[in-house]
Chain length 668, copies 2
């Protein structure tokens, strides 16, 4: 253990021994860091001002992310060709050769110990030219910054602002696109690229190793579509809600799939030699990793998402802070457990929006929405402007024309192999078909964005990864500028209707819901919501009579107070103004009148047998009873095939009041 | 340049050569980092929940920061004594000896280059026991995190929420306490400590060097009082506004003074030898640095603070983002220029609250307030719980009982030497005397907090600095728990009145304002506010007639629209409800009637000579004229000694309308 290893120092500046000089260098480095960060802040400021100009003039051709990229590009060009760093900067990099690369290095400088931390590997063979582009290397962030700081707010916000009602209505199709579609796309792209790469090897166009796993990895990272631009455009144009839900839901979820898929592919390692050959066991293991990591992250995210804090309502600041910390701790917890923080955060966001959000005070609801909106906005524009910058500042680009052409073809075909066959299959089961113009839009609007970039920049050590990174960058540019910019024309060309809500459409939506959705919705609305939030009907109303005491114990007192306004706040999230209530109407309620009657009547008889109530008591009873019926009325029993009857609440004979011993009842 | 230096490697794990192992170690390290951060998040969550409990039960004895410290302490104890890290972790720290400590190190591991960055110096002589407390070292943050991430939002928020009206009314006294007081306190503490240290050297209690500059440095860092606890308690109790303004203003500004002062003391380096002797030139140079850095940071902060963006009002998200970015870029810009970012951010906050805030849309005003409130809350509680943690996790504590006793005495005497003599001198000039019970409260409420901690943890390399850090920690604990907890009893014991606003008090406030304040206020209200914001009277009304065109050009159109509601939104910041308007009343307006008349009349004659207006025109004119008078009425001319006259607007003969050619006028 305590053996001696040999070390060489290649270059070492003798005057660096001086302590003051070291301090000054550290200060200089700190200044430089500040200046670099300032460049990005200025970029963002510029972007914001231009976005404002665009919005002000209603100029919709270019989305803000596209704009951020352009500014990033310009700054990249300036840094690359306009700024020359004095050679003295290079003094700070002596290099010494060790045979180990530990995470922490203790260096003994004339009796003082300095601690160094591993920053990463510098690309092989580039060692000699490192000095020349110190400045460019300085503006290059640690790729983990993207995964640990910038991506989480974006992904969380996507989950938090998911159009939940429509999302759940189309859950089956969305899951199909997100899971099967991403896997299909990954393998299609991987196979096509493998063909291309093999051809390039024959032709002699390949400058390094490129294995099949690399191809699959490339397939995984470029299969993640970006919700950002689509969200913005569709929201502005008020496009058909189902199309919106399909596209947004897919692009949110496939980010999660792609990130877990890519890490499973990296984990695919055939035992024995380093041959990169196919092996069933290793594949199974990768598949196991995929399932394990995905379900682990999912479970963690949901678990933290449903954790409710109900009594903080009086202190919005504390509430907001707690909400924020819980989202963040989800991320950290998942990372600490070896799961994927970003995926956990996504599901945490979805769950929090569905349950916890309803428990927040109105003030905190605004605050959290605005906070996450702001964080998302900043992170997103930062990533996109950084993307523009890296095209010129990244120093190990490998632009291979053949590979690029192949990649563009593969991405196109992969998307097609995802959308069209799956839509065909889904349409077999869907009552509300996914029309062909919808399919074309989904095909067209599959932009690649932040996630693809973050995944590709995470590891740029090998030749294969460098080529992937450069190609990915071009794919992102192309899709954001061309496809993003073309979405509005595309929509009108495909004559996609805006969200019009006539009666017939409303009637349809219920029947077209898939039965798993209906079961889930019933369960969620009747049991989970009342249990986890203050909204929804009280459990006492929805649980079978035998579970009465348990139900009373689990229902929060506020649920009774809130029961008048049973429209929970889900819908206000993305739907706006008039459409909310009408949209909502189609999923709420048709009274299961006959069922309730029977029970009510029976109870009623029992009660009458017990003795006649006084007049005043009867009045009170009647009021309570009507209320009770109203509650039962909102119990959600979606009839499968029956025609909808008008609810018959008023003409009923008085059902009994609940047991008098229950003090909560009297608060009604 | 290319010379060879000798290197030794002390310990090196041979199996670390394996690439996979390195990767796994990096992953392990990442997990560990996540877990560590999670500890802090959990701490914060716990703190929030307990704060809520305290608030809920109206339990005011312990402030939330004190609470955060207690939790931090507990976790520190657990980490120190409860958790034992397996020895295998220490494998990651081989150490090799070089004679240079560059900021970046390139390590060649069997052909691959790894980049290492300098993390800092590990305390001398502790090298052998580093392996044992890897875990504790892991939870220790880079001190620069405090300066670059945690302190800025706290200081910005302090500036942003400064009670500006009362702040400006007491500006003279506040500046005296903050500047002269801090310098006095610094030197008094420094001298006392030097006496103690000299005595300890004689007795043989000192284990290392401790120079006079170290004593002064200690004096500077413990002179920074913390606004947090005081702000919270005083706000809750609605203490006398002047006392509040004095204490809060002082503690906000003396943070800035202390930080610049301490860096100037560090920069004090007598030429020639390392003798730490007194030298006039070096002192002058330090003083120059103090002035330069302070005024530079001040100028930068103010400059970015007044930058106005006026047309973004329709997009609150963009506005908020821009506002946030501008505050941050102030910090970065100052750091990049070699000034002090924290100081710049403080003045940026003050200026933005005074000017830019008025230009924001109401939505953004809420958003920014809430955002900064949240950031401040999180950063503050983080720092305080970290403080508690470091008492056990920091590994180079030097607790010297004599030094600690001396420090407590010195801090007490230093504070006394600041408050009492200055108050006496200030009372000579103040009409509204600072009463002796106010002085006692100011003496008592000088808590040490985040800034003191951040300054003392910044450099813990030498024996002297380590002893300072340990002692500072105890001072912070003592003042926050004892003085912070005792503030409420102290206030009632000293029978400090709540902010009662009877007529006499209102009348006094104007006369008691110092003349520099009155001049500044006039200038600010009449020229700066109209120029930089949409609020306040239009420049056309306040500037001399000869500057008419210029004034019209500089006034924003919205100023005319807003002129009805001339109460700008300053006051709502800390003052609340009823007190706002009455407070405001004392500073507004007595019409400079005679002056306006002369000019008006002259114009009027000119106009009449041009030709009689039609009836309708005359009506219009009259309406305009009355408006014009109303505007002039709000022009702020505080008479120095005259008794206040009632404004005489209605009985005036009609002054002329402004030139008809000006299209803006017609919008009135």
């Amino acid at each position: 253990m305590q053996e001696m290893c040999q070390l060489w120092i290649v270059k070492c500046d003798s005057n660096a021994m001086d302590n003051v000089a070291t301090e000054r260098m550290a200060e200089e480095s700190h200044r430089q860091d500040s200046a670099n960060l300032l460049i990005f802040i200025m970029l963002l400021t510029l972007t914001i001002l231009t976005i404002w100009l665009f919005k002000h003039r209603r100029f919709r051709f270019l989305h803000e992310t596209g704009l951020a990229m352009i500014y990033g590009l310009l700054v990249g060009v300036i840094l690359r060709f306009g700024v020359h760093v004095p050679q003295s900067m290079s003094d700070v990099i002596p290099s010494c050769a060790v045979n180990a690369s530990p995470a922490t290095l203790l260096v003994n400088v004339s009796g003082r110990f300095y601690e160094y931390t591993l920053k990463g590997e510098v690309s092989r063979g580039k060692g000699h030219q490192v000095q020349d582009d110190e400045m460019l290397r300085k503006v290059t962030f640690d790729p983990e910054v993207f995964f640990n700081i910038l991506l989480p707010p974006i992904i969380f916000h996507a989950g938090y602002s998911l159009k939940r009602r429509h999302f759940f209505r189309n859950i089956g199709s969305i899951l199909a696109y997100a899971f099967m579609g991403t896997v299909i796309s990954c393998f299609v792209i991987g196979l096509i690229m493998y063909g291309f790469v093999s051809f390039m090897k024959v032709v002699g166009q390949l400058g390094g190793d490129f294995y099949f796993t690399d191809c699959l990895f490339f397939g995984a990272i470029v299969s993640a579509t970006d919700p950002v631009t689509v969200l913005a455009i569709f929201n502005e144009l008020k496009v058909d809600v189902d199309l919106y839900a399909l596209l947004f839901g897919e692009s949110v979820l496939n980010d999660a799939v792609a990130i877990v898929l890519s890490s499973s592919i990296v984990a695919y390692q055939p035992a024995g030699d380093n041959s990169h050959s196919f092996e069933a066991m290793a594949l199974l293991k990768s598949f196991g990793i995929f399932l394990g990591v995905f379900s682990g992250s999912f479970a963690l995210g949901v678990a933290t998402g449903v954790m409710t804090f109900t009594k903080l309502r009086d202190f919005p600041l504390l509430e907001t802070a707690l909400f924020f910390l819980m989202s963040w701790s989800t991320f950290l917890l998942a990372e600490a457990c070896g799961f994927t923080g970003v995926v956990a955060v996504l599901f945490c966001g979805i769950t929090q929006a569905h349950y916890t959000f309803n428990n927040l005070s109105p003030d905190s609801q605004d605050r959290t929405k605005q906070l996450f909106e702001l964080l998302n906005f900043l992170a997103e524009n930062f990533i996109f402007s950084y993307m523009g910058l890296t095209l010129f500042s990244f120093q190990s680009h490998v632009f291979n024309p053949m590979f690029i052409i192949g990649a563009f073809m593969a991405v196109f075909l992969g998307r097609a192999a995802n959308i069209y066959p799956l839509s065909f299959l889904l349409n077999l089961g869907r009552k509300n078909k996914i029309r062909s113009n919808f399919q074309h839009v989904m095909m067209f609007a599959g932009l690649r964005g932040a996630m693809t970039f973050a995944l590709s920049i995470r590891d740029t050590a090998t030749y294969a990864r460098q080529m992937m990174f450069s190609t990915t960058l071009l794919i992102v540019f192309f899709t954001v500028w061309i496809c993003g910019g073309g979405t509005t024309p595309m929509l009108s060309f495909m004559s996609i209707p805006s969200a019009v809500l006539d009666g017939s459409q409303r009637r349809n939506t219920k029947h077209e819901s898939a039965w798993p959705f209906r079961i889930w919705y019933n369960f969620d609305h009747n049991y989970l919501k009342p249990l986890l939030t203050h909204s929804g009907p009280p459990l006492t109303a929805t649980m079978p009579a035998c579970c009465g005491p348990l139900a009373r114990c689990l229902t929060s007192p506020q649920a009774y107070e809130n029961e008048g306004q049973l429209h929970d706040e889900d819908s206000d999230f993305i739907l706006n103004d008039a459409s909310v209530s009408s949209m909502y109407a189609d999923v709420t309620v048709s009274t299961d009148a006959s069922g309730s009657h029977t029970i009510n009547r029976k109870h009623s008889f029992n009660y009458s047998a017990g003795g006649g109530p006084s007049d005043e008591g009867l009045d009170h009873e009647l009021a309570l009873a009507e209320h009770e019926v109203a509650i039962r009325g909102t119990r959600l029993v979606l009839p499968m095939d029956d025609p909808v009857e008008p609810p018959t609440t008023v003409t009923l004979p008085p059902p009994p009041s609940p047991p008098r011993s229950d003090p909560r009842r009297h608060r009604l």
